[in-house]
């Protein structure tokens, strides 16, 4: 796996992400500055990490979505490249219209930093290969704007095409209203592109890859990517 993490001004979880990728892949990812216009040769995974790109001023992810490197990311995705956007990365993918919908302020209007549970809604993708359908895992959320919104038609399409990757749920796997901490439409925590190669999600699987630091519940996502990219080189 040749991963490249894009660093926008204000990105702040790139180190966390690099640790998780290295743990799964056995090699460190490249870090790429937002002003670059090309991805390193051989890149097979682009990662947009968490943080507050451009201070999250105006709207989270809006300014980053227009930065020079995003043209290359868009082309990479159009060629079938794998792209992972976590938290601010998810917001950027939505703002760049690489994924549908938008992320609004949390319904509580507060920043939420806490554990949450996610249910795997679509196994067998490059991001979820190591999980069973319906598996429940723990993750940590840390965001002020994670309230997923799309119009009803878009939501129906996402559900119909099986593009909802993860839903917020309780420890038993029930997608209850209480488990939907940020108020997302239909408890949606992460969605996929139609070719299943672009994933955006709000919580941080990269923060649970070490037994010492709260557990390894997030590791399967990165191992799934390693499997998928070994099977289908870019």
């Amino acid at each position: 796996m040749n991963a490249a993490i894009i660093v926008f001004p204000g990105t702040n979880r790139e180190r966390d992400m690099a640790i998780a990728l290295e743990r799964a892949a056995g090699r460190p990812p490249a870090l790429l500055f937002h002003r670059e216009t090309e991805l390193p040769r051989g890149t097979d995974l682009v990662v947009l990490a968490g943080g507050f790109s451009y201070g999250d001023y105006l709207r989270c992810g809006a300014i980053a979505a227009h930065s020079p490197i995003m043209r290359a990311v868009r082309e990479f995705a159009a060629r079938g490249g794998h792209v992972l956007g976590v938290c601010n990365g998810f917001q950027i993918l939505c703002e760049a219209q690489m994924l549908p919908g938008a992320l609004l302020r949390n319904a509580s209007l507060r920043f939420l930093s806490m554990d949450c549970h996610l249910r795997v809604e679509r196994a067998g993708t490059p991001f979820t290969g190591r999980w069973q359908q319906g598996a429940v895992f723990r993750s940590v959320m840390a965001h002020g704007d994670g309230n997923y919104f799309a119009d009803a038609a878009t939501l129906d399409r996402l559900e119909g095409e099986g593009l909802v990757a993860f839903r917020y749920c309780d420890a038993r796997g029930e997608a209850t209203a209480e488990a939907n901490l940020n108020g997302s439409a239909r408890n949606i925590a992460g969605i996929l592109s139609p070719n299943l190669r672009v994933l955006g999600l709000m919580p941080h699987p990269e923060n649970y890859v070490d037994p010492l630091l709260g557990g390894t519940d997030g590791l399967p996502l990165f191992e799934s990517l390693v499997d998928a990219l070994a099977a289908a080189p870019a």
Partner: protein, 79 residues
């Protein structure tokens, strides 16, 4: 010219901030407050001196960056 771009949540899009403000006003004892919507306003100094052109420019800014048309609508005024 000065352009003022007002960006509001679209009808049908949840506006938790507007709702919270409505609640807070009620708690402060303000009666007769109906719907409250909260949006953004961006005021720009433009070098362009032709009002029509300035407006067109600000509208393009709104479409490309200032508003997210999935969830927001915008309005441009020139002063």
């Amino acid at each position: 010219m000065r352009a003022r771009v007002t960006v509001m949540p679209k009808a049908g899009v949840l506006d938790p901030q507007g709702k919270a403000i409505g609640h807070a006003l009620a708690n402060l004892g303000f009666a007769g407050v109906g719907e409250v919507r909260a949006g953004k306003v961006i005021e720009l100094e433009l070098a362009e001196s032709d009002p029509a052109k300035a407006k067109a420019q600000a509208e393009e800014m709104a479409r490309r960056l200032l508003a997210n048309l999935v969830i927001e609508s915008y309005r441009v005024e020139i002063a």
